[in-house]
């Protein structure tokens, strides 16, 4: 059986990985829920967040300011891309948004390669200290990542349930045309949602930067896991995304303790099982837009 100390650190590792997945997947999920687009370019904002964290933390010397800069710049990039590209394709079929956003992702990776080069970059861990729980050394930074993800979930819950814009977004997820009929400018809602999604992806990139090496294809490396999280949770559901992100994180982390190569395959098997039982994911809506 697995050593309990190893298991505890495995669980913490899985939770922190799940936090990153959640921050990434929430953007995809929100964009699908409200605008009915599949926005693969979230993976670009993730890479932008990570690279900004690298550069700014190198200049200023503080990783947290770097993360903040990453969030701001990826939010700004998301705003510009939404204004110039996505505004023109909202009305079209869902496959268009998928291909267009893939074009943006590939083009953006090209830009990143042109600016920062191909070499992977290291980012220092902001909190080096370790916490001692039952004789197991837990890096505090991973706990901080988990707490930030929980705070983001709480913040988004508050935003969607307590503010008027959030309520409009939630109504839009149910039925966009009725919201438009109430005299609300839905395209402004779309912009707000897209920028929030982009900023969340940037935050995920910035937080994940100290844990991994920052390289141009980092978005494509995490792609499979983010997809699995979104599919298992159900496109458009925030609660489903939250649950499935931590599920996938745990499966990857504990699976790698049992048999390392299995870790990448196990979430896929779970995804297939869930789709067999429920083709729309755990909390996915059965609504279908043609």
């Amino acid at each position: 059986m697995i050593d309990p100390q190893l298991l505890l650190s495995g669980v913490i590792f899985g939770l922190s990985m799940g936090s990153i997945f959640f921050l990434m997947a929430i953007g995809l999920s929100l964009c699908f829920g409200l605008m009915r687009i599949i926005s693969l370019d979230q993976l670009l904002y993730y890479a932008i967040g990570a690279y900004l964290t690298y550069t700014v933390s190198l200049l200023v010397g503080n990783v947290w300011i770097g993360v903040l800069a990453g969030v701001l710049v990826s939010g700004l990039t998301a705003y510009l891309i939404e204004r110039f590209v996505f505004l023109r394709i909202y009305a079209r079929d869902i496959t268009f948004s998928m291909i267009t956003s893939f074009g943006i992702l590939i083009g953006g990776i090209g830009v990143i390669k042109a600016i920062w080069g191909l070499v992977p970059r290291p980012v220092p861990v902001p909190i080096e200290a370790q916490l001692d729980i039952f004789g197991t050394e837990i890096p505090i930074y991973r706990l901080v990542v988990i707490v930030i993800a929980l705070m983001v979930y709480g913040g988004i819950w508050l935003f969607l349930n307590k503010t008027i814009i959030g309520k409009a977004i939630r109504a839009g997820i149910e039925d966009v045309e009725h919201v438009e009929g109430l005299g609300i400018n839905v395209y402004r809602l779309f912009t707000v949602t897209f920028v929030i999604a982009g900023a969340m992806s940037g935050l995920a990139g910035g937080l994940n930067a100290p844990l991994i090496m920052v390289d141009p294809n980092m978005g494509l490396e995490i792609l499979a896991f983010v997809f699995m999280v979104v599919i298992i949770g159900g496109l458009g559901s925030i609660k489903g995304t939250f649950i499935s992100a931590f599920l996938v994180g745990q499966v990857v982390s504990i699976g790698s303790l049992i048999y390392a190569p299995l870790a990448q395959m196990a979430p896929f098997a779970i995804m297939l099982l869930i789709l067999l039982v429920k083709p729309t994911g755990l909390y996915g809506s059965t609504m279908m837009k043609r």
């Binding site: 998928m98 074009g103 590939i106 083009g107 896929f268 789709l275």
Partner: protein
């Protein structure tokens, strides 16, 4: 008359490819032919069935590794290798097909893309003992030379790949005109009505899925025999969109689209990486512009022009023929 018309279209296409053989270097031609076989399957799925498939490299890798395992571990005959590649494509798509074709188009795209990434991990890490991970399998020296159409020689491989592509193309032409093709298009348009007409949606989609992915597996085994080497790189996440990009570039749902698209894409990639280096940037921006401009692609926007030109020619001939008919009576 109808038969004559599509044979003439076919002749034009292949006369073009023979011209390519004369004027362009051989490796580039082989690349184009294999790539167009690769893209035809994706084109069929996207244009006829309405499935956007970002997971096509998965089936490419299945075909390639089927052939590679045979040629590396068991036998030496490349033709048997290609047959095994096709068979493994059929088997894998029959296994995953029933799960995948039940899904909505958007879920299908995501799940298929995830499959491509999973096969990448499978070949790179999990099965590293038999696939040798990133180093790949090298079996060029294992391949026997056969008496007719020796596949180890690039010039004779070109003829074989050409014939294979021709057969695939004619098969898809036949499918497009058949009732099955019409059923596929109908499931894309309105699957409830197809059900009312007494067809089984699931079976239609499954058959289309298996056919398209088997074609892709054939392209994979052609790659394996041509290069004599297979590595997980062909299904890496960065390349999952290649067939979709080429399909859109060429024109979705058209028969010549894949060929035009592969010529344009392969040529562009070669030229850009030669003179500019950063091909991802250019392809990405180009893709966004093509999507913003419309959905027709290169062949899709050329086709009406060509048709109008041909039509005008015919109009000019017609009155003369009618006059002749009157006179003889």
């Amino acid at each position: 008359m109808n038969v004559l018309r599509w044979w003439s279209g076919l002749l034009v296409a292949f006369a073009l490819l023979i011209l390519l053989r004369i004027f362009l270097p051989l490796p580039f031609n082989n690349e184009i032919i294999i790539f167009s076989v690769y893209v035809i399957g994706c084109n069929f799925l996207l244009g006829r069935v309405g499935f956007i498939s970002f997971g096509q490299p998965a089936y490419l890798a299945v075909g390639a590794y089927g052939t590679a395992f045979y040629l590396y571990y068991f036998g030496t005959n490349p033709y048997v290798g290609i047959l095994i590649g096709i068979l493994s494509g059929i088997v894998v798509s029959l296994i995953v097909g029933p799960l995948f074709v039940r899904l909505r188009s958007d879920y299908f795209a995501l799940v298929n893309m995830a499959l491509a990434v999973i096969i990448f991990f499978l070949m790179q890490k999990v099965l590293a003992d038999i696939t040798f991970g990133d180093n790949g399998l090298w079996f060029l020296t294992n391949v026997d030379s056969t008496p007719i159409l020796d596949l180890t020689r690039p010039d004779q491989f070109y003829i074989f790949a050409f014939l294979a592509a021709f057969a695939v193309w004619a098969f898809y032409k036949y499918l497009d005109d058949s009732i099955f093709g019409a059923c596929c298009l109908a499931t894309k348009m309105n699957d409830d009505k197809v059900r009312f007409l007494g067809y089984n949606n699931f079976h239609i989609r499954l058959a289309a899925f298996v056919i398209a992915n088997t074609t892709t597996a054939l392209a994979g085994s052609l790659y394996a025999v041509y290069l004599g080497f297979v590595s997980p790189e062909m299904t890496s996440p960065a390349r999952t969109a290649d067939p979709v990009v080429v399909t859109i570039l060429g024109g979705v749902g058209t028969l010549f689209g894949p060929i035009v698209g592969s010529v344009a894409y392969t040529g562009m990639k070669d030229l850009i990486s030669k003179y500019f280096g950063n091909w991802e940037l250019v392809i990405g921006i180009l893709l966004v512009f093509i999507m913003l401009a419309g959905e027709k692609g290169i062949w899709g926007s050329l086709e009406p022009l060509i048709k109008r030109w041909v039509f005008r020619q015919r109009e000019a001939e017609k009155p003369a023929a009618a006059d002749a008919g009157v006179k003889s009576r």
